[in-house]
C-alpha cells in the first residue's frame, strides 16, 4: 500500500493560472456590460433586448448574468462524427484533434511548385489526402474555389469535401441559404436531417468582426445553427495591436467578449445547442502588417484560449500547424512544430489550419503531410512516460545484468512497439543509405508521400442515389442564384 502517489499520465502545460483565467473572465464580463458589442442584425437585437440586454441602436450591453446563463445552458462537450456515423471527434476536456483550415485563395501546386489559384479539383484532392493521413481527424476545405461562380461556390466546395472524405467537416458558407443547402446535402447522405443532428458530421464556421462587431451574415449563421442545432464554431480572428489591444491579456479579453456575445445570441435561439468557442488569436507584425500565424505570441494565445475554454468547460477551436513562411522551408517547419506541440499540450479540442502557409493565404499539400508527421511526433511526446512495475523493468535489468544487452529480451518485444513512435517522412537513415536512396530532403520526401497517397488512396464512396440528390441540390441553387 502507499498514499499520496500522483501520476503524470501525459505531459503538462499551463500558460495561465486559475486565478489569471478568472481575472480574464471578469474583465470579459466587464467589457460586455460596459462597452458592449455592436450587432448588425435586427432580429438578434430584438432577441437580445427581450432577454435583458441594454440595446441602443446597434450597441448591445450585456449584463453578466445573461452571459453566465448562456455559459450554463450551452453543452460542455460536442461530438463530431464521421460521414459513416462513427463518433470519432469528442470535443471535451483536454482532448485534441487536428484538421486543415479553409478558404485559402492560393495553393502551391504539388507538381509544379507554382503558387496559383485554388480550384474545385484541388479541394477534392486535398480532402482525399486528409482522408488518408492518420493524424488528421477533421477537415476544412483548405481553399476557396475560384473556378465556380461565387454565389454558389460554397455548395461546390462542400460537395468536393463530402464526396472525398468520411472525416468530420467544418464548413464555411456564404449565407443562410448556403447553410441550408449544405445541411440538405448532408441529410441526403445521412438519411435525413435528424440523422445529421444526432450524429453531426458537419460543423459551421462563423466569425465576428474584431473589435466587438457582429455583422448580419455571421449573426444570421449563428442563429441558423442555433435553430437547427448544428454545431457551430464562432471564432474571432484578432490581431493584437491592430484589432485588439497590444497586450496579450487585453487581446484575449476583447476576443473572448466577442465570442461570448455570440454565445448569448446563439443560446437565446437554441438553448443547449452545440457551440464551440474559438480562437485565431494573433498579432499584427508591426513592420510588414501581416496577421502572423507563426509568432510566439500567437502560439501563447492559442494555448491561453484553450485554457480559458477549459475554465468555462466549453469545447474550443484552436489553431496550429501553420506558418508565415511563403513555402515549405525551415521556417515553416519550426513554426508548425512549435505551434502543434503547444496546441496539443493545452488541449485545443479542434485544432485547425494545419497546412497553411503565407499566414493563411496559401495551402500546401506538402506542408500538410509534414504536419501530419509532426502531429504523430507530438502525440508521442504528450503521452509522456508511463511508470509502473512493468515499465520500471527492475527484473529485466537484473536478468541482463551489467554488460549485457536488451535486444533479444521478451520485455523488449513486449514494449518497444508501443513505447516508440515510428516516423514516416522523418529520416533516420545512416549517411550511406541516405545517399543510396537518393539523398532526399524532407521536402522531397513529403512531396512524394503526398503524390503517392493521391495516386493510391480511394476514399469511401457515397451511394449513387445520395450523389444524385447532392447534385440536384446544387443545380437548384444555381437556378436560384445565378
Amino acid at each position: 500500500m502507499r498514499s499520496n502517489y500522483t501520476v503524470n499520465a501525459s505531459t503538462h502545460l499551463r500558460v495561465l493560472s486559475d486565478s489569471q483565467l478568472e481575472e480574464i473572465h471578469y474583465a470579459v464580463l466587464e467589457v460586455l456590460e460596459r462597452t458592449g458589442v455592436d450587432v448588425y442584425h435586427d432580429g438578434a437585437l430584438d432577441l437580445l433586448k427581450k432577454a435583458g440586454a441594454y440595446v441602443s441602436g446597434n450597441n448591445v450591453r450585456i449584463p453578466s448574468a445573461m452571459v453566465e446563463a448562456a455559459l450554463k445552458s450551452s453543452p460542455s462537450r460536442v461530438t463530431l462524427c464521421t460521414r459513416d456515423k462513427r463518433r470519432t471527434v469528442l470535443l471535451e476536456g483536454y482532448n485534441f484533434h487536428f484538421g486543415t483550415g479553409s478558404d485559402c485563395p492560393f495553393i502551391i501546386d504539388l507538381y509544379t511548385g507554382q503558387r496559383r489559384k485554388f480550384t474545385k479539383k484541388d479541394v477534392a484532392e486535398g480532402m482525399k489526402l486528409c482522408d488518408a493521413l492518420p493524424n488528421i481527424d477533421f477537415v476544412m476545405s483548405m481553399g476557396l474555389i475560384s473556378d465556380i461562380a461565387p454565389p454558389v461556390s460554397d455548395r461546390h466546395q462542400f460537395e468536393a469535401m463530402l464526396l472525398n472524405t468520411t472525416k468530420p467537416i467544418v464548413f464555411t458558407a456564404h449565407n443562410r441559404a448556403g447553410c441550408e443547402d449544405i445541411l440538405a446535402m448532408s441529410a441526403a447522405v445521412a438519411g435525413g436531417i435528424e440523422e445529421v443532428v444526432k450524429d453531426p458530421f458537419i460543423c459551421l464556421y462563423a466569425e465576428p468582426i474584431s473589435p466587438l462587431k457582429h455583422m448580419y451574415e455571421a449573426v444570421d449563421k449563428l442563429i441558423w445553427a442555433g435553430e437547427n442545432r448544428i454545431p457551430v464554431v464562432y471564432t474571432p480572428c484578432i490581431m493584437s495591436g491592430a484589432t485588439a489591444p497590444a497586450t496579450l491579456a487585453g487581446a484575449m479579453v476583447s476576443a473572448t467578449a466577442e465570442t461570448l456575445a455570440g454565445l448569448c445570441i446563439h443560446q437565446i435561439v437554441g438553448e443547449g445547442a452545440p457551440f464551440i468557442m474559438g480562437g485565431v488569436y494573433g498579432i499584427m507584425d508591426m513592420h510588414t502588417t501581416i496577421f502572423t500565424y507563426g509568432s510566439p505570441e500567437f502560439m501563447l494565445m492559442q494555448s491561453a484560449v484553450s485554457e480559458l475554454a477549459h475554465f468555462y468547460r466549453k469545447p474550443v477551436f484552436s489553431t496550429a500547424g501553420c506558418s508565415d513562411s511563403k513555402v515549405l522551408d525551415e521556417q515553416a517547419a519550426i513554426e508548425a512544430a512549435l505551434s502543434i506541440l503547444l496546441a496539443a499540450q493545452s488541449g485545443g479540442n479542434l485544432i485547425h489550419d494545419v497546412g497553411y502557409l503565407e499566414s493563411g493565404i496559401v495551402s500546401s499539400f506538402d506542408m500538410l503531410v509534414m504536419c501530419d508527421e509532426i502531429i504523430g511526433m507530438v502525440k508521442r511526446i504528450v503521452r509522456g512516460i508511463e511508470v509502473d512495475d512493468e515499465t520500471l523493468a527492475v527484473d529485466v535489468i537484473h536478468k541482463v545484468g551489467p554488460g549485457g544487452h536488451f535486444l533479444a529480451e521478451e520485455h523488449t518485444m513486449r514494449h518497444f512497439r508501443s513505447q516508440t513512435w515510428f516516423p514516416s517522412v522523418i529520416n533516420r537513415q545512416r549517411y550511406e543509405e541516405w545517399v543510396n536512396s537518393g539523398s532526399l530532403t524532407l521536402r522531397e520526401r513529403v512531396t512524394s508521400k503526398a503524390k503517392a497517397i493521391l495516386a493510391e488512396h480511394v476514399p469511401k464512396e457515397v451511394s449513387g442515389k445520395a450523389v444524385d440528390e447532392v447534385q440536384r441540390i446544387i443545380r437548384s441553387a444555381e437556378d436560384r442564384e445565378l
Partner: protein, 241 residues
C-alpha cells in the same frame, strides 16, 4: 494653469529661437510622434515669421522622409509611423489657411478608399489609408462593403485624384471590375487613377480589370499613389518618399 507636460513647457519657452532651431525642433517632435508639440511649435514658428512653405518643406515633409526611412530600416514600426503621421497632420492643419493663400499645395491629392461590396475586411484598408495620409494625401474612407454605385457617388461628391479599392476575398474581387466598369460608364474613369490591393489580388488581375496599379501592402500602395500624383501634370510638390 495646470502643470504643463515638460516637453510642452519647453516648447512654449522657445520665444527667442531662430528659424533653424524651430525647424529642427518641429522635425524632431514629428519624428517622435508628438502631435500637440508639433502643433504648438508650428503656431509659434508662424508667429515668429517663419514662412509656411519653409515649415512644410524643410520641417514637416523632411521629417516624414526620415520617418519613412526609419520604417524601411525597421527602426520604426507601424504605430510609430501612425503617430508621426498624426503629428504631420497637426502641423499641416495649422498651416492650411496660409498655404492655400500662398498658393502652395501641401496636399498630394485626394484619395477615395473603400473595401468592396460583400467584403468586410477592414484593417488592411485602414492601414493603406494611414500610410497614404502619412504621405500627405487627404483620404476619404468609405468604409467596408462599398458597392460600385457608392464609389461612383463618392467620386462625384469628393472629386478624388485616386480611387483605392481593397478586397480580401476571391468572391468579392469581381466587384473591383464592376466598379471600374461603372466608373467608365459614368464618364469618370478618366478623371481618376485606380489602385487596388488585398490578399487574393495580383498585378495580373489589376491589369485584366483595367486598374492603373496594384499595391501589395500599405507602404507600396502609398508609394505608388505618390508616383501617380507626380505623373499628373497639374501637381508636383516635392517628393517625401
Amino acid at each position: 494653469m495646470g502643470a504643463m507636460h515638460p516637453i510642452l513647457s519647453e516648447a512654449a519657452s522657445g520665444f527667442f529661437r531662430n528659424q533653424d532651431s524651430f525647424l529642427e525642433d518641429i522635425k524632431e517632435n514629428l519624428i517622435a510622434g508628438r502631435a500637440s508639440v508639433v502643433k504648438l511649435l508650428t503656431e509659434q514658428a508662424l508667429r515668429r515669421g517663419v514662412p509656411p512653405e519653409v515649415i512644410v518643406e524643410e520641417s514637416l515633409l523632411d521629417a516624414m522622409k526620415e520617418v519613412n526611412r526609419c520604417f524601411s530600416a525597421r527602426i520604426m514600426a507601424i504605430p510609430d509611423v501612425l503617430l508621426s503621421s498624426r503629428a504631420l497632420h497637426a502641423g499641416l492643419y495649422v498651416l492650411k489657411p496660409y498655404l492655400t493663400a500662398a498658393g502652395v499645395g501641401v496636399n498630394r491629392g485626394r484619395v477615395l478608399i473603400g473595401t468592396v461590396a460583400g467584403d468586410l475586411h477592414d484593417i488592411g484598408k485602414r492601414l493603406v489609408a494611414i500610410m497614404m495620409e502619412s504621405k500627405g494625401f487627404e483620404v476619404i474612407d468609405m468604409g467596408i462593403d462599398v458597392p460600385p454605385e457608392e464609389f461612383v457617388r463618392g467620386v462625384n461628391v469628393h472629386n478624388p485624384d485616386i480611387v483605392a479599392m481593397s478586397a480580401l476575398l476571391t468572391t468579392t474581387m469581381g466587384s473591383m471590375k464592376t466598379t471600374i466598369d461603372l466608373l467608365t460608364e459614368s464618364n469618370l474613369r478618366r478623371r481618376v487613377k485606380v489602385i487596388i490591393g488585398g490578399g487574393p489580388v495580383t498585378q495580373e488581375f489589376a491589369q485584366d480589370i483595367g486598374a492603373d496599379a496594384y499595391g501589395y501592402d500599405a507602404v507600396s500602395g502609398a508609394q505608388i499613389a505618390v508616383s501617380m500624383m507626380d505623373q499628373m501634370p497639374h501637381v508636383g510638390p516635392s517628393d517625401t518618399s
